[in-house]
């Protein structure tokens, strides 16, 4: 048993009274969690609209999108998208989605709100750092958005910002001057926010657990946030200096990423001694763990949601945790599979290929544990469980296409094609989004004290599930046929036979995107007019459902911190409450229960 009372006091702060301290510069992890969620919500709709514009352009290249010129100074004369504006939209879409949605919502938003409650703490140990982490992240978002309005717009170099294009400055093309500097600045600032957040998450998990809450008694969601914060601490600590070096190449005359003898527009560039592959190594050392930073919280959330809706624990709590941990460790050893044809030594490609293939094993264990646990369940179908099951389907589909990209020989044909785009959208984008949706439908009642509309939730699910497959499965076919990504048009005759497939994808994207408005409507209508939620609407066991009020009070548990008696998922038992025993109940749950 872990005595955390001394640490728990360190986090105490009295309930704020002013509007600013309550809702804006709040120290309360719950408010900060909701702020992160709000930021992710704004970001995801901005990112989605950008993707709509790109998709319309790819399907109907000569179509003038009404009002497009309002978004850009020079990028859309007569509302026709220029090649550079397409690339700028693409870069911003990816950057916004990867950083401000996929990292922010499942990890920072839900983790902030529920990690302290699930461990039985009053707050995080460093509330000021926590407040700062959100406001730093928010600032990063503003800096990134500012690039739309500064100079000749945002950078067009893609979210990977490969050097030397990203490092040579304005001469590289529109947005490659101030646009890149603002991008790198925004990401460096974002890293600071994530580092502060990760420190808080790790300390909360290790030092703030209440009496009886051993590490193994933590719910899988809490474990996933803990594992993710360990990854975040190391991955963002590499990306931040990489971004600083990139900024220095722009503003300080350094040449970290530009070699000698670079000639652009017939001008010999004033650089020497830099390495273009250095950027790729630094970026992907962050970039591949980032994939798992986006998806591991989803695994935890989906497991947590599914267990409650299956009314039985997973086949093995510990095996799932070990598998998620293995994914985290291996995620640092596989990053070079992004660089098989980069000019890196071909033996290095093989060295990165095998860990990439080995990472299939923990990922398969996770999937098989989910499938095996479904066997013999008493499965409830609701919006939360549908999205959780949808997550599994998407994770399988997106994960399996990784078989091809893990091997250098098959990657020769698929590298930089739509196959890669389909792969990462399914496994990292859609699956992670489904994790966010599952978490939202599941936890909304606790966060806002009202139930979400189930009918709207199911409509949202059906369009999202079928729509996501309709969009992203054909991406794989495009890639197999050799369709290269990051092309704004197929000129003059390149890939013309694939245009009908592109049109189909565009229509699917517009319909699926429109269905997300149903979710937005549901969020707002339920927030104000939803059915009042009971304290434990899903008959769940973990500590967030034991708070004295819903939403929880300022210090989460009132006057007294909870005491934990059980492993987190005592379902399928006979007890005085029904088929479950809460972690805080001293009632013995089963013969092998340690209570």
């Amino acid at each position: 048993m872990h005595d955390t009372s001394a640490h728990a006091h360190a986090a105490q702060h009295s309930a704020p009274t002013s509007f600013i301290r309550k809702h804006v510069f709040s120290l309360d992890h719950k408010v900060i969690g909701k702020q992160y969620y709000g930021l992710a919500l704004v970001a995801v709709f901005v990112g989605m609209v950008l993707s709509w514009l790109m998709r319309i352009h790819l399907g109907w290249t000569n179509f003038a999108i009404p009002g497009l010129h309002l978004l850009t100074k020079n990028g859309a004369p007569g509302d026709m998208m220029t090649p550079e504006f397409y690339l700028q939209l693409m870069t911003m879409h990816a950057t916004i989605m990867v950083f401000f949605v996929l990292t922010t919502a499942p990890f920072a938003a839900f983790g902030n709100y529920f990690l302290p409650i699930q461990v039985g703490a009053e707050d995080m140990p460093f509330p000021h750092f926590n407040m700062m982490s959100f406001w730093v992240t928010f600032t990063a978002f503003l800096v990134l958005m500012a690039s739309f309005f500064v100079g000749d717009g945002p950078t067009l170099g893609g979210w990977t910002q490969y050097a030397p294009l990203s490092a040579v400055g304005q001469v590289g093309g529109p947005g490659e001057g101030s646009g890149v500097v603002l991008w790198a600045l925004a990401i460096a600032i974002f890293c600071v926010g994530q580092l502060l957040g990760s420190l808080n998450f790790i300390t909360t998990t290790l030092d703030m657990r209440t009496r009886g809450m051993s590490l193994w008694r933590l719910p899988l969601s809490a474990w996933s946030w803990f594992i993710t914060s360990c990854m975040g601490l190391t991955a963002f600590a590499v990306l931040m200096p990489a971004c600083i070096l990139l900024i220095l190449d722009h503003v300080a005359g350094t040449s970290f990423f530009v070699p000698a003898n670079t000639v652009i527009n017939d001008q010999l560039q004033p650089h020497s001694g830099g390495s273009t592959l250095l950027w790729q190594h630094l970026f992907w050392f962050f970039g591949h763990p980032e994939v798992y930073i986006a998806i591991v919280p989803g695994m935890g959330i989906v497991s947590h949601v599914l267990i409650t809706n299956m009314r039985k624990p997973m086949l093995s709590h510990r095996v799932l945790i070990y598998a998620m941990g293995a994914l985290a460790v291996l995620s640092y050893m596989v990053y070079g599979h992004h660089m098989f044809v980069s000019g890196m030594n071909p033996i290095s490609s093989l060295a990165f290929s095998f860990p990439t293939l080995i990472i299939t094993i923990p990922a398969t264990i996770v999937v098989l544990i989910w499938l095996g646990s479904l066997y013999g369940a008493k499965l409830r179908i609701n919006s939360a469980s549908l999205f959780a099951l949808g997550f599994i389907s998407m994770f399988i589909s997106g994960g399996i296409s990784g078989f091809f990209l893990a091997q250098p020989s098959t990657d020769i044909m698929l590298h930089a094609t739509y196959f890669v785009v389909g792969h990462f959208h399914l496994v990292m984008g859609v699956a992670a989004m489904f994790g966010i949706f599952a978490g939202t439908y599941f936890w909304f009642p606790k966060m806002y004290g009202r139930m979400m509309d189930e009918k709207l939730g199911k409509i949202h699910f059906w369009f999202s599930f079928v729509g996501a497959y309709a969009i992203f499965m054909p991406f794989h076919y495009l890639g197999l046929a050799g369709n290269v990504r990051r092309y704004q048009a197929f000129a003059p005759e390149y890939m013309q036979h694939l245009i009908p497939l592109h049109k189909f994808i565009t229509i699917a994207a517009l319909v699926t995107g429109a269905a997300q408005l149903v979710f937005l409507y549901n969020l707002f209508i339920s927030r104000f007019k939803g059915e009042p939620a009971p304290d434990n609407p899903w008959q769940a066991t973990s500590l967030e459902w034991s708070t004295p009020t819903t939403p929880p009070p300022h210090n989460n548990f009132g006057d007294k911190l909870p005491v934990v008696y059980h492993d987190p998922y005592q379902y399928g038992v006979e007890s005085s409450t029904g088929d479950y025993v809460m972690q805080t109940s001293p009632e013995k749950a089963s013969a092998d229960d340690e209570a």
Binding site: L87, G173, I264, V319, G343, L350, G376, I396, I412, M413
Partner: protein, 267 residues
């Protein structure tokens, strides 16, 4: 609703697999001597991935169908083998199969990257720059002249920075905007970028290699079928990236000799 969901998963899984099985959208025909093991590797990976995909989606759908909407009094059951069975299945079925694939795939990779170019191969330089490829043939002396970065000038059509007046090796060099190669003759492609990152991708040739500024890289290949193929850039290189391409003509030896002669006359 659970049954509808299960059926939806079945339908999506099967419909997704049909274009793959029918090769509706598939890799273009291979025209290289080294491509067969790559294609074989792709097919084997597709078979394994396809089986894993269909099996896992169908099991997911089946379990959703079977174990939802429980009746009152239904008891939960545990999977007979428990977690241990799952771990072993993951290691033995998926892990070893995927690793075996990886081991076999090494051969296909080695075929491209671990074999030295033949002494009889024909050297051709390719220089990538925003947003065009230029090719250089060494001419009758078999030697490429030195390049001078300060002399590179698009305006003067001196794409390589060659000094014909002072470098004797450069005098007969032939610079072209289109690439032509003789069929069934190994080409040693010497790659260089003058500005940012680019890539050289010819799907039919099963060749895909980035240009790395500051590094001179090379690949070698033998084209086996006469025809005209697109060379596309796959590394985002700026606003004209989508339009950065060149054509590769694979010609009979006689046609190639004639083409080279014609190009030499244009220098």
């Amino acid at each position: 609703m659970a049954k509808l969901f299960a059926i939806t998963i079945f339908v999506i899984a099967i419909v997704s697999a049909i274009p793959i099985l029918r090769h509706t959208w598939w890799m273009p025909e291979d025209i290289s001597t080294h491509g067969a093991p790559i294609d074989e590797q792709m097919s084997e990976t597709m078979a394994e991935a396809g089986i894993s995909f269909l099996a896992s989606q169908l099991i997911l759908g089946f379990f959703i169908w079977k174990f939802s909407n429980p009746r009152p009094g239904d008891k939960i059951k545990s999977f007979p083998g428990g977690a241990k069975a799952m771990v072993w299945a993951a290691i033995l079925l998926v892990g070893t199969e995927v690793l075996a694939l990886g081991v076999f795939g090494v051969k296909a990779w080695a075929n491209v990257y671990f074999t030295p170019p033949s002494p009889n191969s024909m050297p051709v330089q390719v220089q990538a720059g925003q947003f065009a490829f230029y090719f250089r043939y060494p001419g009758a002396d078999g030697k490429f002249g030195p390049t001078h970065v300060d002399m590179i000038s698009e305006a003067n059509q001196n794409f390589y920075g060659i000094d014909i007046d002072h470098d004797s090796d450069s005098k007969d060099d032939i610079v072209t905007a289109e690439m032509a190669v003789p069929v069934n003759h190994q080409i040693h492609l010497l790659m260089h970028s003058k500005d940012v990152g680019h890539s050289f991708f010819v799907p039919e040739l099963r060749i895909h290699q980035d240009f790395v500024p500051g590094m001179d890289l090379s690949v070698h290949f033998t084209a086996t079928k006469v025809g005209r193929y697109e060379i596309v850039c796959t590394q985002l290189c700026g606003l004209g990236h989508y339009n950065m391409k060149a054509y590769l003509s694979v010609l009979s030896q006689e046609d190639f000799d004639a083409w080279l002669k014609k190009e030499a006359a244009l220098q």
